[in-house]
């Protein structure tokens, strides 16, 4: 360890800050931290200034910034580290949330398996899917991108007034069903509701004729109870009532 203006050889600097020699080679090539001198034999010689720069680099690296951004930040005269860190923090928060969702998905999968002794792939799948992209809206949680695309196609193919009409009728029908929870399933009124239900379902499904995969996916989602709690969609209770009336 000499004590000139360039006290460190590469191995010494590496040991001092706790990184590998290879890492310093890498940073040199990237222009992140370059030795301020070389020995006659070509050895890299680092000074105190280089040491400080390396500290800054490692600090920012530790916060998750990519190396090239670190270089650009430190090299630009008016580098705005704070702004970069704000961006970084946002990404970090999203990542944390994502990991937490995954962790809870794993947890519930393991719970289920412990209690039932059975390994249910469907359950893991839905849990993982929910974890994977529950940042988006409802649709994105329960359908694949391709299915989303199919939905979009259908919307384009179907006349808007038909879509509106069907949605209004569903809203009205669901409202009527929910308005009469104590209605006798065997009564003529109940039978009428069943008839309207079946007709409307038929009318709706007709639009999906060209996409049999979607019908299947929707069915699976209803079975899985994915839409419980969403007022605009038929709920398990609604379906159960119609079923009782149909059988009565």
């Amino acid at each position: 360890m000499n004590t000139g203006p360039h006290p460190y050889r590469i191995g010494e600097l590496a040991a001092r800050v706790g990184v590998s020699v290879r890492t310093l080679h890498h940073y040199d090539r990237l222009g992140l931290v370059q030795p301020s001198a070389r020995s006659e034999g070509g050895y890299r010689l680092y000074g105190e200034h280089d040491f400080l720069r390396l500290q800054q680099v490692l600090t920012l690296r530790c916060l998750g910034l990519p190396l090239r951004r670190i270089r650009d930040l430190l090299d630009s005269e008016d580098f705005d580290v704070a702004a970069s860190l704000r961006v970084q923090r946002i990404a970090l928060r999203e990542r944390i949330e994502e990991l937490q969702r995954i962790e809870s998905a794993i947890g519930s999968a393991l719970d289920t398996q412990e209690r039932s002794g059975v390994w249910d792939w469907d359950l893991v799948l839905t849990a993982a899917a929910a974890a994977g992209n529950s940042g988006g809206n409802i649709m994105e949680r329960y359908y694949t991108p391709e299915q989303m695309a199919q939905f979009a196609e259908l919307r384009a193919e179907t006349p808007p007034e038909e879509i509106e009409a069907v949605e209004r009728e569903w809203t009205a029908l669901l409202a009527e069903v929910r308005a009469s929870p104590s209605l006798d399933p065997a009564s003529p009124e109940a039978k009428a509701l069943v008839a309207r239900w079946d007709a409307l379902q038929e009318r709706t499904m007709a639009h999906f004729a060209s996409k049999p995969g979607l019908v299947e996916a929707i069915g699976r989602n209803y079975e899985a109870g994915s839409f419980e709690g969403m007022d605009r969609a038929p709920q398990a209770a609604d379906i159960a009532f119609i079923q009782r009336a149909r059988e009565a």
Copy 2:
């Protein structure tokens, strides 16, 4: 989309599950998901079974398992997915905690900068360092791995009874200093404390003679106030008192 036993071509399967064709190529080469047939022209043809396998793969991938482990898991007859997930969950929790530490480090750095308007590299550095490995003990927060190794060497070189003796004397001396906060710095008692302090410091530092770098690092840490709040180490107040007594 034909409807034989191998309904999907690669692009269709990719669209259906929402991954890229390249990804399926990759999985094919890795042996993760291989098409159960090929067309005469060499096109990959996937069946329902392949589709299910792909779902499993994507599920596990979503949970963060590396592809090769997924392959090994699915290929082994008695694959224990649950055990793998338990391991995965532990790693995940650690990662989450780490990210949370980093996020709060960024937060405090930004706070400081907003309030003071100054960008303090030392502060960011200590915050980041704390974030980087605050799972460990105090030592690891303030010294580099190489320095840690030097500390270890010193401990090995120095007789244990000497270490104990020095630590006991420091404890006693600090207790006396703190017990007499209102002692006149010019008093003979204060002078005596200064003499004991200097002797003890000399005795301590003698052991570090072979590691000048460590002395420097320790000095920097004291200057940075890294050890404030740690009772067993001299505090700024203790040092200030001794200084006053020395100058009196």
